[in-house]
Symmetry: C2
Subunit: 171 residues, 2 copies
């Protein structure tokens, strides 16, 4: 796919079929995440790729509970990448966001639907979230940045809303 | 340029020649910024494209002063795009970062060097920064997210540092 087309046409996808994406495709998406820019090149983020259905469902429940809801905040997507970043690095929040951006853009380039699902901060600040990081052997002060849900889109994505008029100023 | 190549090969550029980039190329970069994902599609960021040398130099001075330095924090880049985002939108910081990511990626796809320069928050929280926004007719509670400096690279960029070993966890 052409790079500029990807940047202009990527859309958030809110409907998925339950089929997992091939591991090689997930690997390429993760690789793009690794090469996002980070402040001073410190690579403050980490990614957790979740393809295990039980964990995916546990995270969905935890995420929904933060909203006080019992639906599926992951829109039926079968898998996801959680991005967290090391709070001890001053640019961690920006760094983690750039990783999320590369994941979403790469997914689109490879024919995979994606969407940023928020509340990762609240999720991994909770006792259950902290316990999960510990289970994975992740030590350090990591803040949840976002969930990049992934899967094959069920039906076409909605077209982009018009951009606001005053997006750009020039001088 | 191929989309995946762009995501994997983009590098931050820290040496520029003083030639401005063509306006049509800047327009394409800004367009990519406009189409970054934003939380709930609220389009909380704005971009200020600065090609005016006097303002570019004024910003460089303000930015350097925050570090207590008198060099050029923009590495000689002749122009830049400042991204700010509306603090009243809960996802503003993540949204603005995704705009920055699209700007840097698009620049690379179009043969233009770029680098994220920080301290935009401190810059636009200062009285001088606030006055500048007022001069531009920008109202509202905007926080500086980053400066995307732009220009033709002077010499090749440094190759990417090796990625850290524990970037990705899988479950």
């Amino acid at each position: 796919m052409d790079a500029m087309n990807m940047l202009l046409e990527r859309r958030s996808c809110r409907s998925y079929n339950p089929e997992l994406i091939p591991q090689g495709v997930l690997d390429q998406i993760l690789e793009a995440g690794k090469f996002a820019a980070t402040g001073m090149g410190k690579q403050s983020p980490i990614m957790i790729a979740v393809t295990d259905k039980a964990l995916r469902d546990r995270l969905a429940k935890l995420n929904a509970a933060i909203m006080g809801w019992d639906g599926d905040p992951f829109y039926g997507a079968p898998e996801l990448v959680i991005v967290l970043a090391d709070r001890s690095v001053p640019t961690y929040l920006y760094d983690g966001s750039l990783v999320m951006g590369n994941l979403m853009n790469a997914a689109y380039a490879l024919g995979i639907g994606s969407c940023w699902i928020h509340r990762a901060k609240e999720e991994f600040d909770s006792e259950e979230g902290k316990a999960l990081l510990k289970e994975l052997g992740i030590e350090g002060d990591y803040e949840g940045i976002g969930h990049c849900i992934l899967g094959y889109p069920e039906g076409p994505c909605r077209p982009a809303a018009p951009r606001k008029e005053n997006y750009v100023y020039r001088i």
